[in-house]
């Protein structure tokens, strides 16, 4: 074995390994991107701070910029960008093995995790500290000006920390920065630890980001989880949100529960999945050792992996039609549809639970008018911006994100099709049909889930119409005699949106010839559009419809109210997107090179 050919004296010292890993992490391109992303978010927050009274002190500006930039939502991503994916990429490229024969395995793993934690923590906190430095030099306004007393930007529920904010603002900033530093380190570690379970770079970025946003959603918005599991509480965001927030000094210990849990998850992943023989998969694992890798292909029954292929299509129909069928066979799998249906069912159930929690009076048996029905659940689920960004649109975009770059099999298919334009046309058709089918699937699954959970199906509006914001429709849509127009509007809007966003993924992946990058970029744009849509409250109308999420949902709160004449603005917005994306993708397809790609699993 190679391991035995390297004598102990030639092994690298642990400190040298750590030094090299730290150098890699801190000088990485990811570090620069993360710092830039953090800085951009804070600039958005600063822009928002301009709307506050001019008497604001440096700590007021800093804190407004911090919380209005939605830094707490993006922090897991910022922390993971610099180095969290390197364990996965080093393993795939064989670099980890080459390191492992030159140094002790535990010291390499330790060095990687330490460097990653430091890089993630610094990437998270440096933009905030830079902003603090700039503000202390440029803003000399007195502290605690009464003009800002009633402003939501100042903390008012955070126990003794409120006193610190007023009397020792530098210490307050350092405490908040400290929580950001620790959270950054923990999320970065979670990202890297997740790749021990599933060895893929994408996992490093997505697991902490999704986990954090889901925790935020379920604890802060739906209250289905305790308040202290919300990352915004850990990150000391001001508490004008509907969450509980910690109010007394006695509750401070609760804030250690989330970081403790994240730390325990990381340790558990390292202990269970980070053993030497599990990680060194190729030639360094001792012979006879059974590798306990998770292989999704083996977990899923064969019948659920592919749809049957019709032999009768051989030498029948057109080349294009048959190519389209092969694309369906390659892209759509029964297991994917089952997973989507289950996810939408769970989402609908959560939405119904939330509706009952927020509006118990409309579900009371003695209610006079029509009780809530499955349409209410449909409009509520489809119209929730957070659910749309994190689950509904996310599922669809992930499902269709791997059309480009063409796999080796796809290249063989195109060679037989003999036309790049036809291939583009087939992919566009596939995305459009998928968007329509997905929107219909949502409609059916949400209604069925509603029925299963006891909601009636009715063609009449329920009591929820009176508070139309509860079902996320503009007022005039609820004034129609039935749901058809409301459904057609919402259906058209979301279908067009899904189609356009999938085209954007297609364009990005075709231009840069890298899978998943398009999906990640579009998903980040989508999630970033949530705070952007909130920030554009006072912006001109044109800018109000720039954030993607505004054109996917009807909802106005916490966004700008949508008037009657603006109902179809989103449809026009998507048509403009289409006018750019359709020729853009066609041109990219015509000019792309089909380079070597791995086999398709």
């Amino acid at each position: 074995m190679v391991k035995q050919t390297i004598s102990e004296k030639h092994r690298k010292r642990p400190t040298k390994v750590l030094h090299e890993e730290l150098k890699r992490a801190l000088a990485s391109r990811g570090m620069k991107i993360a710092l830039l992303l953090g800085a951009v978010l804070l600039v958005i927050g600063l822009n928002y701070a301009r709307s506050y009274p001019p008497e604001k002190s440096f700590v007021d500006v800093w804190y407004i910029a911090y919380n209005q930039s939605f830094y707490y939502l993006m922090l897991p991503l910022i922390a993971c960008i610099p180095f969290a994916d390197t364990l996965a990429s080093d393993r795939k490229q064989g670099y980890f093995e080459r390191l492992a024969v030159r140094a002790h395995y535990k010291s390499i793993l330790g060095a990687k995790f330490f460097a990653n934690a430091i890089a993630g923590a610094l990437a998270s906190v440096l933009p905030l500290l830079l902003l603090y430095s700039i503000l202390t030099l440029t803003n000399h306004n007195p502290l605690n000006h009464p003009a800002l007393n009633s402003i939501e930007g100042r903390p008012y529920e955070m126990a003794e920390l409120v006193q610190l904010y007023k009397t020792l603002p530098d210490v307050f900033i350092l405490i908040v920065s400290g929580t950001v530093f620790i959270s950054g380190a923990l999320f970065a570690s979670l990202g890297m630890a997740s790749t021990l379970l599933i060895n893929h770079r994408f996992v490093a970025f997505s697991v902490p980001f999704l986990l954090s946003n889901l925790l935020q959603y379920f604890s802060n918005r739906t209250k289905l989880l305790p308040w202290y599991l919300s990352p915004s509480e850990l990150l000391l965001k001001p508490n004008f949100s509907p969450s509980h927030a910690f109010e007394t000094t006695n509750e401070i210990p609760y804030l250690f529960i989330l970081p403790g849990a994240l730390w325990l998850i990381c340790i558990a992943l390292i202990l269970l999945c980070g053993k030497r023989q599990q990680i060194l998969e190729n030639n360094l694992a001792p012979s006879g050792v059974k590798r306990s890798r998770i292989e999704l292909g083996k977990l899923i029954p064969v019948q659920l992996q592919n749809f049957p292929i019709k032999e009768s299509r051989l030498q029948h129909g057109s080349k294009f039609g048959n190519y389209f069928r092969t694309q369906l066979n390659m892209q759509m799998r029964p297991i994917q549809i089952i997973i989507i249906v289950l996810c939408v069912m769970v989402l609908s159930a959560v939405m119904l639970g939330w509706m009952k929690l927020q509006l118990p009076q409309v579900f009371a048996p003695e209610i006079g008018s029509a009780p809530p029905n499955t349409w209410d659940l449909y409009f509520r689920t489809i119209g929730d911006p957070w659910a749309m960004a994190l689950v509904t649109a996310n599922l669809f975009l992930f499902l269709v994100s791997n059309l480009q770059p063409q796999t080796a099999f796809g290249q063989l298919s195109i060679k037989r099709l003999s036309s790049r334009t036809s291939s583009w046309l087939a992919h566009i058709g596939f995305l459009l049909l998928s968007a329509i089918a997905y929107s219909l699937l949502l409609f059916i699954v949400i209604h069925l889930t509603g029925r299963l959970l006891g909601l009636p199906f009715s063609t009449q509006w329920s009591v929820m119409r009176d508070g139309f914001e509860h079902i996320n429709l503009v007022a005039y849509l609820t004034e129609t005699p039935n749901h058809a127009l409301a459904f057609a509007t919402v259906f058209g809007m979301s279908t067009l949106g899904f189609f356009c966003l999938s085209l954007l993924i297609l364009l990005i992946n075709t231009l840069i010839q890298r899978g998943l990058i398009g999906y990640i970029i579009v998903e980040i744009l989508l999630i970033s559009s949530l705070p952007l849509a909130s920030l554009s409250l006072n912006a001109p109308k044109f800018f109000q419809y720039l954030p993607i999420i505004r054109n996917l949902v009807m909802r106005f709160y916490p966004f700008v109210f949508r008037n009657l004449d603006q109902t179809f603005t989103s449809v026009y917005a998507w048509l403009i997107w289409l006018a750019v994306l359709l020729p853009g993708t066609w041109f990219a397809y015509r000019k792309q090179d089909y380079l070597s790609q791995p086999e398709t699993d």
Partner: protein
Amino acid sequence: MTMQNILEAINISKSFRQKEVLKNLSFSLQENTIVAICGTNGSGKSVFMRVLAGLVLPDSGKVTVFGTTLGGKNEFPPFTGIHFDNSGLLLTETARNNLLLLAMVSNIVSKERIDEVIRLVGLDPSDKRPVRTYSTGMRQRLGIAQALMEDPKLLMLDEPTTGLDFAGQDWFHDLIHELQGQGKTILITSHSKEEIANFCDQAYEMAGGQLRKF
């Protein structure tokens, strides 16, 4: 009997991010010959093969295959089977289903031909195992089968013996000679000088973005 050129590449250049991989390269291929291109890793063999197959677009120059110049409506060469550096298969499907899906697109292959070509490369068309469970050599054989499926006149095979054991390599050499006997033309890339010396009619070496006779 004079043999005619079935493939001509004239003044082909291709760069990736300022790195010039192919430099004003010209090449022709005579009918019913076995021609090899060798070269070090990264020398541009595969890129050149992909240019000939219409998968990579050259920055300048033109490729003509069987009298058809690639470009415009003729984006890919006619009567050509290709097999590149990995087998290009759907790993969750069976061998037969892989060929079936591709045959649906080309629209000229019968069920019987699919089974025949799978047997020709030494595999079993009734094998229900997904390709994921196949060895590298078996996948290479299946990749060659898909290239042969439409009974092309010209075969472009990029490193076809990679992953094949000695017996597999012998089988492959017998196969290409048999195909040559059927009038086919074969263009392969290879790292093996022995393979080139023993089995090819002509050989070229790719170096510095240029081809020279070997």
